[in-house]
Amino acid sequence: MKHLDKVIYIQNKLKEVDKLDLPTLPSTYYQIEELITKNKATVNNLSEIIQSDPSLTAKILMLVNSASFGLRQEIKTLSRAINIIGFNELSNLVLATAVIKMFPPYEGAHFSLQKFWEHSIAVGTAAKIIAKNLNRKFMINAQEAFTAGLIHDIGKLVMKEFYPTQFGKALIHCKTYKSTLADAENSLFGYNHQHIGHALAREWKLPAIYHSAIGFHHHPQEVSPKHPHFAMIAVVHLANILAKANLLGSGGDPFIPNIESITLESLQLSHNDFEHMIIELEAQATETESLLNHS
């Protein structure tokens, strides 16, 4: 079965899970997306939507004032925050905070959601760093790269929540055979968390760039470098490996996979670029963890 066939098969299975309460994104996200897509967004109407959710308002103000935005003055109002971060970035932040809220961090017996989110945030941070270091011709938005990195493993959460027995088997399999979780899932089920995440992204009607980043982050070589989203796929692929090498959090298996050389070639990244990015990631890793607090 081809990648997309597997994704559609899983998407149909997810519709069955829907009866078991498959999490949905908050209406706030879709309202914001609709206004932006239809070019009807204004600071006022976006503020109104967000203010209906006090915890989201607080979160956005906290994020805007965090070190990752590097602002010298404290931002106290939502409208000012929206002006600074921009409409698209706002939508990305709402998506990021909503997904974390759906699956709050906790320490499980076999799988820690705390460590999972630490890993995911590190991948998001690494993706943002890579995006900022890329030549402008790739047109990768750094905040979009952060969100893509943050949600790249969302398929694992669906596995953990709705198919816990299979997920447990995959975790044991990868430890026994020293393989990545994706390879273990492939061996056991014929599909992996990339397909499941891709299916969920379709179900949630996320922007297509996220479908690609989630669906191919382990196997970018399955996509043509001419694909419109190849650069984002490559960024998340490299960011995942960078975060793992820095031992930041855990996505379920500890093994550091090989870099697919096509990603380095396509993004024109050198050894020196990587050295720079490794150090930058260490400097920023703890700063973005504010996303996990008060989720």
């Binding site: 590097g70 990545t180 490996i241 820095n246 093994f255 996979p257 050295e275 720079h276 490794i278 930058e280």
Partner: protein, 116 residues
Amino acid sequence: MKIIKISEMQDGMIVVRPCVSSSDIELIPSGTEIVKRFHHEVLARWGIDTLEVEDCIDYEKEFLKLSDEQQKKIQLKLQLLYVNANENNPIMSLLKSKTHNVLVKQALSDSRGSSK
């Protein structure tokens, strides 16, 4: 506002940034004279007046100071983490060296914790 030099070094490079909470960083070669010269350069660019330098960690030296058992543990862990990795790829070697440093840092922190 101060400059903080982060202790991490890669191939003789050090990192400086204008304040603890900023993500704006610069990479410069290590060495006191260069740091001093850089100080003047960043003064103009960042409008800062203090250079605060943290002690640098030489991870290779620190690794050798660890007990045989701790060294062995780190080597085994590193081997396990990179079990599927292509060692001939220079970037994978770079990443492995980074992971080694993180493991040494963790071991040092554990040693300090247990000696309290």
